[in-house]
Symmetry: C2
Subunit: 213 residues, 2 copies
């Protein structure tokens, strides 16, 4: 697909093809679809993107995408304001919200430590996480990062940082200690053991929990 | 994915998810990617789409996408101006151009006859094809439609229309007759017979051609 009959078409295809996971054939299909839509639909499309880029904020506290300076979750008084769930990105906030199982606050790192991709701790929102602990009187930090090598490295780094930070604080009340946890890893619900990979299955045996009824 | 932290984000996701083949998860990924790009890149994206919709034309003769009223192919004098290749859509023009094997003109139908989808002959650019035959002194019409039931139906319909049209013309010179051909169908180049479907293989035996060296 090198020869486009129109320069305008070719430019629009270039733009779509610059998006992740969109090849030139898909881009062409999308552009030709938009071309068949009424003018007002295409305007709605471009307006939505323009106003997104101009008006959207990242929450000043948890760094999720928000229409305001501070997101509705950080602003809410009906949530558990002493628990922070640390996630890699905005999608993960939405995924966890959709489970309906978590009622605390979030902290979006904006990535995970990955030396291969040149991402170090200083590229992530780790300092701002540590700075939230004392003023917000946080009692638990839940690490909900991906179960990859990079996720594990980041978990370990944050654990050490928080641990050192807490230990350096002047002791005021003995009972005031920070709990650091991570999400459970194991065989996914509905999966057959036969088709679960060896590492996951092995870990799920080592990290077994007591059966309670 | 029902809960978006931002209305602007949600609107942009809606727009992307309205495109064919783009689900809400992919749409979210694309929107968050655009959100991370510099302002000027997002502007380039929306500008390319706006100007596409406003300024692009469909060629008045062959109905392909074009920057001008008449496309470069219809305007070219280095092409065989007596052969028309009939295709379903603009992508097919590009695919055939990329083969470098065809040097005639095109005619884009804008679809194929499909009663199931409510597409009849009058929804396609068939009348305008018939109207080109005499003024442009066309000698051959090549039907390059998809090898589907709908493509076959459309082939047959166009064949009948052209046949009736030619027969109704007052005879001027006996030798001036219109050739109607269709692209060859058979086993794709590089394919093993073992993995070719039965219908294609069966047809390729029935429609075998003489081996020449």
């Amino acid at each position: 697909m090198n020869t486009y009959p129109s320069i305008l078409l070719s430019k629009a295809v270039d733009q779509f093809a610059s998006l992740p996971g969109i090849g030139r054939k898909t881009a062409l299909r999308l552009v030709l679809h938009l071309l068949r839509q009424p003018q007002k639909d295409v305007e709605a499309f471009t307006d939505a993107l323009s106003s997104l880029k101009q008006d959207v904020h990242y929450c000043r506290i948890c760094h999720t995408v928000s229409d305001e300076e501070i997101c509705p979750i950080c602003n809410s008084h009906s949530r558990d304001r002493h628990t922070i769930c640390v996630v890699e990105n905005v999608q993960d906030v939405m995924s966890i919200e959709n489970t309906g199982q978590f009622h605390g606050l979030y902290h979006v790192l904006g990535g995970v430590i990955s030396p291969m991709d040149g991402v170090g701790p200083s590229d992530l929102e780790i300092d701002s996480l540590v700075e939230r602990i004392v003023p917000e009187k946080i009692k638990e930090v839940i690490l909900a990062l991906p179960t990859t090598m990079e996720g594990d490295t980041t978990n370990f780094y944050i654990y050490k940082r928080l641990h050192n930070f807490i230990n350096a604080l002047p002791v005021e009340g003995e009972e005031e200690c920070l709990k650091i946890s991570q999400i459970a890893r194991g065989v996914a619900i509905g999966n057959e053991l036969e088709y679960t990979d060896e590492i996951t299955l092995g870990r799920s045996i080592v990290n077994r929990i007591e059966f309670k009824i």
